[in-house]
Symmetry: C2
Subunit: 345 residues, 2 copies
DNA sequence: TATTAGCACTCGTACTACTAGAGTGCTAAC
DNA sequence: GTTAGCACTCTAGTAGTACGAGTGCTAATA
């Protein structure tokens, strides 16, 4: 028996060890496996196999006479092996479809609700990480004249995001001029990303040569105040994750990590390109030492303008991957469908 | 020495015990107090005093030969005693004033930033609990015609809250009719609370006798979709609270409690009337058993229309009350000032 | 060559026993 | 009212021990 690939029996046993550990959070030993699973081999043979799996890095044991627990490589194998049959049961799917009404009227609220849904069904912590401003495309701007010095600006992106802001001007502007300005901006800026809009808006107005000072002021303030969307993170079900603190008290560092958003931003930018498949990041695969005992199951979602965000769940490394992957997969597909609808309408 | 009120020396010693416990999280005994604080009495006298304080319910000791720790009543005394000189140092005040730029352009974002600020300076978990819809007063509605069947509705409350929503109609509506509808609603609904608006909007349109079916549809959808604001809770600095889990793992239950919002809603409705003073809720004073080891320091804030919300921090019962009270006080006054500005402008 | 039984060995957990020390409460003297 | 002295109590920490789960190795077996 040389190292390298695993034969069927080894796979089977590896999966048993992992599933057992996921369920019980305890190491399991050869004797116990023999007793509980009807493998037609003795515990001695099993020990040989386990030793081999350990030699190849799939398992480890915390001390000499403890049973085996999976390594990250072990989990990785398990998850990859699983990935094919990640299907929700019909009941679950119906439950998900029927049991939750997502609000389609406001993108932000919708994202929040999706993250709630993720937490609800997974029993871990759900997150939705919104799209980065480089990818969001401007569609339409409305400037509403509340008074000569008070303008309500509302813009809509191609993905259906709506942002509003109250703008206070130093120099008064007339209704007529406001309309003019609005038309110019809509004509000039359509199709730009929000970041570009922010950079260009002042110049566009200047170029037009209609250099009323109030135009320039408004353009400047619009750029500063409204075209300034940022990545947002919706986290729901935080208490769920707390119940898994188990051995170490590193939960705190996880939340610090999440609050910084850097990690999710990194994943979004580097790990998800076009495909919208569910991806699993196990323990140290996340590159952050704080994530040592945790895994992320996530998928990208697309808004109407093809910008991408990230959604998924964070849970302990020993999570029920098969269930969770199926759930995240389902919800991400649901999210994409919902977002398409927002766009169409 | 009969029970009842505390004399100066007793007060002094009570405060020493509490401060010590706040700093070290350990019981302290008579001998130690004598050694470290220059009281001109022996440890035996001290023991008599401590026993007396315990008899009166200000202190307790977890077991026979442990030192004393404060009870809720003890903390309460300490905090009430403190309340007078809750002043921020000049440096701190300047730091707070200079170090943080609150965004004044969007109420929701502002509230979120305030809660971040609370967490940042207190090192505990900051919260801002927004106003209940019964108290928010309608000011202005804009209906923006995007297409015949697609309306962007934006409304502004007297407190400066802006809400928008995209409305999809079954029956097309013309620009002219939309304007008409908008005018009617603005005339009829000004001064109502949002809850009332929601109840009345359909009737108001009906009463006008201009019963085009598209008017009724729009009125109905407006009521359903946009005049539907709810209490919101901004929580920041969750990791901070996790580092205080100490003895028991009840942090989880705290967060479940917070997610439910009921407690804060209760406080807001029952404990804060007109005055905008900082209030401290210690341990079981909160009525929720989960709060046993935690305290809330909070203050009400007012938006322009005199509706009220709650802000503050949640931290371990043994927190640095004097510092925290001063900070919450300062930030709540700052918030009120900011909100006044929003209104004025 | 793969499988198995047998067995010595390892190490962590759980339990017990013991000690040191911190702190109390009481008493009697000042 | 204050203080010194002292017996008493209880915890935290340490050490010792027994148990048992599990391993890894060896030699026999199919």
């Amino acid at each position: 028996m040389f190292s390298g690939l695993l034969d069927e029996r080894e796979k089977r046993i590896l999966c048993i060890v992992i599933q057992n550990y996921i369920q019980t959070a305890r190491p399991i030993g050869s004797e116990n496996i023999c007793k509980n699973y009807n493998l037609k081999i003795s515990s001695a043979t099993l020990r040989n196999i386990l030793a081999n799996l350990e030699k190849n890095g799939y398992l480890m044991h915390p001390y000499t006479s403890a049973g085996r627990i999976p390594t990250d490589k072990g989990y990785r194998f398990y998850v990859d092996d699983l990935e094919e049959n990640k299907q929700l049961s019909v009941q679950e799917e119906m439950l998900l479809a029927a049991g939750y009404k997502i609000n389609k009227y406001e993108l932000k609220e919708m994202l929040m609700q999706i993250s709630q849904l993720l937490s609800l069904v997974s029993h871990y912590t759900g997150f939705v990480f919104s799209v980065s401003p480089e990818k969001v495309i401007f569609k339409h701007l409305k400037l509403i004249h509340l008074s000569n010095k008070k303008i309500l600006a509302v813009f809509i992106t191609q993905g259906g995001l709506i942002e509003h802001r109250l703008i206070h001007l130093q120099l008064p502007i007339s209704v007529k001029n406001l309309k003019k300005m609005c038309k110019i901006l809509n004509d000039e800026l359509i199709g730009f990303t929000i970041r570009e809009v922010r950079q260009e808006i002042f110049n566009k107005i200047k170029e037009q040569g209609i250099g009323y000072r109030e135009f320039l002021e408004l353009a400047e303030k619009l750029g500063e105040q409204i075209f300034k969307i940022k990545e947002e993170l919706y986290l729901e079900g935080i208490p769920n994750i707390l119940s898994f603190s188990e051995d170490d008290k590193k939960v705190e560092s996880i939340f610090r990590l999440l609050e910084e958003r850097e990690m999710l931003s990194y994943l979004l930018k580097n790990e998800f390109n076009e495909k919208e498949k569910v991806k699993v990041f196990i323990g140290n695969e996340n590159l952050y030492p704080e994530m040592d005992n945790w895994s992320i199951v996530s998928a990208a979602y697309k808004t109407g303008d093809c910008s991408v965000g990230l959604l998924g769940i964070i849970g302990p490394k020993r999570m029920e991957y098969s269930r969770i992957i199926a759930e995240v997969d389902y919800i991400s597909r649901m999210a994409n469908k919902l977002l398409e609808q927002v766009e169409e309408e």
